[in-house]
Symmetry: C2
Subunit: 344 residues, 2 copies
Amino acid sequence: MDQQHLENWLNKRKERRASRTLDALLTGLKNGDRQILAESITLVESTRPEDMRLAAELVQACLPFSGKSIRVGITGVPGVGKSTFIESFGKVLVDQGLKVAVLAIDPSSSTSGGSILGDKTRMQDLSVNEQVFIRPSAAGVTLGGVARKTRESIYVCEAAGFDVILIETVGVGQSETLVHSMVDFFLLLMLAGAGDELQGIKRGIMEMADALVITKADGDNAKKAQMASREYANAMHLFPPKQSDWTAQSFTCSSYQNENIDKVWQVIESFVNQTKINGWFETHRKLQDKYWLAETLKEMILNDFFGDDDLVDELKKAEEKVFSGELNSFHAAELVYELFKNKK
Amino acid sequence: MDQQHLENWLNKRKERRASRTLDALLTGLKNGDRQILAESITLVESTRPEDMRLAAELVQACLPFSGKSIRVGITGVPGVGKSTFIESFGKVLVDQGLKVAVLAIDPSSSTSGGSILGDKTRMQDLSVNEQVFIRPSAAGVTLGGVARKTRESIYVCEAAGFDVILIETVGVGQSETLVHSMVDFFLLLMLAGAGDELQGIKRGIMEMADALVITKADGDNAKKAQMASREYANAMHLFPPKQSDWTAQSFTCSSYQNENIDKVWQVIESFVNQTKINGWFETHRKLQDKYWLAETLKEMILNDFFGDDDLVDELKKAEEKVFSGELNSFHAAELVYELFKNKK
């Protein structure tokens, strides 16, 4: 356990110990208390049964005060400059008087305890700004579970008065789909030089993008970035039209020279205007809500088992028996399932 | 619905109608009856409650006759030439008198109804060979569910006497991890020219690979492929040593010129020899079995809900209410969950 992890762990413990009532949490959130916001998200991320009950109540209580932010998903492969971009983009938003929350969905964090956004020094200026709240990815057993908690954190941040929620994820396929299921606008960052790789998963993610921004368009790279941007714009014209009726934009930016970063926000604003007029903005959120109903229900059903320490112990014992070869996994699953059924 | 899909659908219906007893299925499998093998896999893939019960019994009944094959995962981005490789590789195996089953895990098939391996004409020679059985990816709601069914199909194919099971998947991150959790040997196909992209997800998948094979190493491409292979070999030396103590191999092949395709099988054979001696082969399978216990259990628990048509109807009604704005998704999930609890 390195220094950063140790600190995170101690902070989490401290936050948990000072657990508050639902009313105190909600009042704190509505007053924009950052400490309480951090505690609330820790609560939402907790897997302890008693925390989960309070977390469910808190998210429900936040709902009437939520929904007013603009939710932006930001993705791109490692090396594309996501942190640097978010640092510059966040400043543009803050300069307009907007409050910005940055959350993350990082599938790798289930084992490593959080890699993206884990190190706040990556966004040094932004992380100390009063109008900004940065939160590393929740750790979790499944990507779906991590994503569900991130979605609930969005509501909590909205109740705390944040105007823009940025959800960062790395470019690995499945996590983009999950981010896409909880944001209004999906921004794909790309590097120049990958222009001829319009294939496979990249195409799938490109089809989801509302804007594709070529980063690091400065110095020797500027021309290549312009060319790549035009290529992508052409490619995107071949995609089927979006349900939103929005035409995906493609352009270049430079975080280093602070060029076109403000344009990203202008594009998002015109997307929001257009889709609020044609009704997609609301429809999209309702479709997302509908999708998450089944996911939330699954979590509740599975928690009948995984929220019971005795049953989880039995599962662990069965796992050992499977490992020793005493039982096969199918038979073991049936035996544990029988215990579960008989207990109820 | 195009011609191919229509045919698939009609075939599935026909297979289902002719449902047989457990004994008839098991006897058929052990006699190597291909029609019964196809029916058995259809049964394993079915989501109808009565089918699921019989499928569970069938998989259990197959277990004593399973485990003797070598399970090989094959992945690579679209365009790498997976089908062409499998066609050539399959012939090498068949020429040695081995029976080969080709299964697939394709996350995109949940919506499209099967894209990879969906078109058997892609492996024209192999698909008509008596010693070969090719099966497209199961369609399913979740990638995990599709993968679980594929794993069960492995046992069924093994009971039917297949010596080598090839599991194909596209290179999209999450599905590789799932394939890796059910195969003995993980083969990564790569194209030359991507040599400097040792980053992100590719690195993660490279770390899983037991062999990395650069395809299309023929004509003008041969030199580039050789160089890429050396680069990858160097890169892989920097990875932490594998639990298997196996040193991942990197080399080139050409399906077109039929070069080095036989080497792939030699490498797999020496992997199997080495890991059977040092014990990893068995340990690895037991670790996989342990992993799948929890997944199988989750499926059983969720099926308490999703196997009940009335409850699924209620979920659909609740989804409509969420979409109309009458309920929020959290409240709706709680209401449906209450119905579920009260029913038991």
